[in-house]
Amino acid sequence: MIIKILIVIFIGFAGGLTVGAGFVAFLVVLGIIPRLTQLSNTVNKIHSYEWAVVIGAVTGALATLRDPSFSLSPLFLIPLGFTGGIFIGMLAAALTEVLNVFPILAKRVGVHEKMIPLLMAIVIGKIFGSLFQWIYFVDR
């Protein structure tokens, strides 16, 4: 019995270790934290940012596994949704597939001067697609 429990603990721990390492590797590859430190000029605070990511991931894991309930006002969801959206937006922008489109458009199609409007096309497209999905698409 003890052996079984120990094995389960070990397997759970091993799985968590792998997923956690993979998550951090994903963030590192996309370079969101360096980009944020570059924008805010806070390279010296990078360790706090690491902890923010770790604590955030653990909180999310606990919340999905334990299903707690807080009975708070729904208004708390607004900042949560907003910051979550910014994070996903940075993820989407950092994906190299998005970034790689632009040099090719600029060189091949010759739209060098119109880069900003085309960038905005992607940004507005994402906002539109997201709103369309939540407000209309999910009901169909």
Binding site: I32, R35, Q38, L39, N41, A63, T64, D67, F70, S71, L72, S73, P74, F76, L77, I78, L80, G81, F82, G84, G85, I86, F87, I88, G89, M90, L91, A92, A93, V98, L99, N100, V101, F102, P103, L105, K107, V109, G110, V111, K114, P117, L118, L119, A121, I122, V123, I124, G125, K126, I127, G129, S130, L131, F132, Q133, W134, I135, V138, D139
Partner: protein, 212 residues
Amino acid sequence: VWEVNVMENTVYIRMRNRIQANPDQPVFLKDVAQIIADETVISRLEKLKIYQITKEDKNMIVIDVMKIISFMKEAYGNIEVQTIGPAQTVIEVIYKKRGVSFPLFVLIWFLLFFGSALAIMNFHEDVSMQSVQQRIYTILTGKEVKKPLLFQIPYSIGLGLGMILFFNHIFKKRINEEPSPLEMEMFNYQQNIDQYVIMYENKENINKLHDY
């Protein structure tokens, strides 16, 4: 006396990485390289013609430093050439500036617009975003809703803001000189093209085995 003589005859050249030129333009040494030399030779060296761009050339030409040295030796037998920096210059021939037509621009704009809209919707479906948001709503408020719009609308706006934040400097002050990810990507792309052209347009770099 001998040493002074040697000093006078040494020419230092540094090839430029890439230059732009017009079609049919003659290319002189001063166009493709920086030169340091004795006053007596430098003015003549600068006007040394290296290459004539013709119609047959495509839009990329590579000038190897070895070719330059041989031209210089031909013109002045007694100079010693010291090269510094890159071993070749890439000449980009600029044909008439083609602006993109407005209908094509609109087409590309909507291509990107609907493409990214579709991509984000597929992403949301793929990761079950809706059910995660419903659970977050339930965890925080204790109530169950089908459409947690209070979460989803700020999320959608944040999505766009996050992308702008990543691409661009909203804080336009430019705290430091670092380039944005987009500028980096453009630079890497150009760098790769140049590397490729240097390898394959420059016949001197490749020595194939002859099949007999």
